[in-house]
Amino acid sequence: MTATTHDHAHHAAEATGFKRWLVTTNHKDIGSMYLLFSLAMFLVGGAMALVIRAELFQPGLQLVDPYFFNQMTTMHALVMIFGAVMPAFTGLANWMIPLMVGAPDMALPRMNNWSFWLLPFGFAVLLSTLFMPGGGPAGGWTMYPPLMLQTGTAFPFVIFAIHILGISSIMGSINVVATILNMRAPGMTLMKMPLFVWTWLITAYLMIAVMPVLAGAITMLLTDQYFGTTFFSAAGGGDPVLYQHIFWFFGHPEVYILILPAFGIVSTIIPAFARKPLFGYSSMVYATASIAFLSFIVWAHHMFTVGMPLAGQLFFMYATMLIAVPTGVKVFNWVATMWRGAMTFETPMLFALAFVFLFTIGGFSGLMLAIAPADYQYHDTYFVVAHFHYVLVTGAVFAILAAAYYWLPKWTGHMYSERLGKAHFWLSTISVNVLFFPQHFLGLAGMPRRIPDYSVQFADWNMISSIGGFAFGFSQLIFVWLLIKCIRGGEKAEARAWEGAEGLEWEVPSPAPHHTFDTPPVVR
């Protein structure tokens, strides 16, 4: 075994300054860019959420036109899903997977650069549509026709921006799969891989499977709009609901794309701070795989009210309820991991514990939503909004924050300020519940989602929710401040920054040198 070959022939010195970031093929550089990009998008999407919550602070229209409000809800979702959460996970994958499996870099380093750099370009196009004649997309992130076809000039730009984001995700995922399948250090068998790697392997597979389906769906929108096809028009023999089927065939696995890596993160952090091995490693792997499998056959639970034939509704109801089983196994395993451990509660652990608690609440409302007749009431109300924000904010985003705190010492070489971290945690956790918990009540009481104004009986809970929203939004600035401080300095981090941390990433110094595992380690 010899060392990794680096291409010094015609790049005697590596590019410096800004150019370095444009041309880099280093997984750590690219991972950092992904993470910073995602943070920026998190703040942009968050600002849009604050516009929404400000308008909903009290009944009546005070701030924005209803059409602009619809643009905000649409863009908020697109930015958060494709700009914040997915790139954050891909950034973590870039940084950590090669370190975790003992690889010198991602399998396809040049393509890795392209996967990242398509993102800012795609988002530049997407965000620019807000300034186009007729405004940005306002038909919801799901882009249902025929409403979506009423978009102004922005229409083709939105479609193509999403194509670009899709290409980026597919290439990123291909890279992850190739890295995991081909770049593991000797001795690192599949069933020895850290769970973060496992969950990402399955996530990447899901992404490669469904992003092209989304591409197909929006391509049909494009041709329906400009070339006279009638995929989604009854007059031509198509059906607007056909779009929903294709979209949710992508959309439901997408939900797991947004949460499986979070499962991996939590399964890494809880054992580290409980100082006890993860309970039921193999059942975790099988549960993840079953969730991924089931995710392909449950899509129409988003469409119980479209008037599907009874048999279809029954099938999708049963299949959806089944997902509770593997998901339950995961939660039970996490609790069993804590059981009789020796826990400490540093910020990553706090976020991971909050994840287990709050994600499970989102899981409970998910189970309720699976009951088709009850969904006739819940569907498209704030109950759904509360549900998916519990799984995506206190689920995915909290896991990403946990991961950031956990690995910050490895990335920067400094310990972050535990004081700021704890403040960030407590403020976020309390405010996020003030923000989203009342939305359950609103939905059950009959408030539909995606409305800029509401009748007065909904006023009080909306006001509370908005207060929570602003508190949550501004709490995130603590994290930004903490991050800046941690990058610039702080207590020196040891190679193994946490007492109970396990895994190859803790065998290399902190900060991780630019090139690691040029010679693969041997895993026993």
Binding site: H6, L108, P109, M111, A178, N182, P212, D239
Partner: protein, 286 residues
């Protein structure tokens, strides 16, 4: 077990991805501008497309240089293989979306509109006898004919199947280091690919000129042209890949036991082949 037998080649800084990003973004902005009625879009599109072609050219030139220069270990080779396999898988899923639309229209929406869902067909459309192939209840009086499997599509099926065989013969020739046979059969494959494209173009001409079958002929026209159209684009791309790979063969590239670029192209061609079989059965015959 995965391990680095002889070191893993990690290229340093590359300009191609950023050039590709600019190219792709310009390309789509150009198309979008054009679709929204701005003629300027064509220029932007052209510039973006040119940049993209330049990127593909340069990127592959780098890869070929590195590969020929012996920088790629068996492990790198495996990475590229996985990459290609998953890329083809993503392409299959892309076609899956359009096949899904076809099946939905045939087995659900058209029957519903055609009387299986009495409320819809009676209350809104008065279309009780609608059946596939159809342009939908809004186009009932329209005079057009569907595209049957005979003769062009069947001939095209034979052409593509034969091209799969000639490509396999060429591959064996490469493995046996029989360059003459390799190159002969590669050109035969390319000729068959070009023949397919020409016949497909002729079929489209027939459809528009004599059958009055157009892209906007309801759901039949939509699924027919989108499925065969995207397939045709893939055949075109595959043919270009075959031409490039053949020219490389003529330059003496590839070894009998190491020729991933060649294999990737062959996989792609077989994938295009298989998709066509699906089209032949579900679009033309059934």
């Amino acid at each position: 077990m995965a391990q680095a037998e002889s070191g893993y080649y990690v290229p340093h800084g590359s300009n191609w991805p950023i050039i590709g990003s600019v190219g792709l973004t310009s390309l789509v902005i150009g198309i979008a501008l054009y679709l929204e009625g701005m003629g300027l879009g064509l220029w932007v599109m052209g510039a973006g497309g040119a940049l993209l072609i330049y990127m593909v050219w340069g990127w592959f030139a780098d890869v070929i240089r590195e590969s020929v220069g012996g920088l790629y270990s068996a492990q790198v080779d495996r990475s590229l293989r996985w990459g290609m396999i998953w890329f083809i898988f993503s392409e299959i899923m892309f076609f899956g979306a359009f096949f899904g639309a076809l099946f939905y229209a045939r087995f659900l929406s058209v029957p519903w509109l055609g009387g299986e869902d009495p409320a819809t067909s009676r209350v809104l459309w008065d279309s009780a006898l609608l059946a596939w192939p159809t342009a939908g209840p809004g186009n009932l009086g329209l005079d057009w004919k569907p595209m049957g499997p005979w003769p062009l599509p069947t001939i095209n099926t034979l052409i593509l199947l034969t091209s799969g065989v000639t490509l396999t013969v060429a591959h064996h020739a490469l493995k046996e280091n029989n360059r003459r046979r390799l190159i002969t059969f590669m050109w035969m494959t390319i000729a068959l690919g070009l023949a397919f494209i020409c016949l497909q173009a002729y079929e489209y001409y027939e459809a528009y000129a004599h059958l009055n079958l157009r892209l906007d002929t309801g759901i039949y026209g939509s699924t027919f042209f989108m499925l065969t159209g995207f397939h045709g684009v893939h055949v075109l791309l595959g043919t270009i890949m075959l031409i490039v790979i053949t020219l490389r063969c003529m330059k003496g590239h590839f070894e009998a036991d190491s020729h991933f670029g060649y294999e990737a192209t062959a996989w792609y061609w077989h994938f295009v082949d298989v998709v066509w079989l699906g089209l032949y059965v579900f679009v033309y015959i059934m």
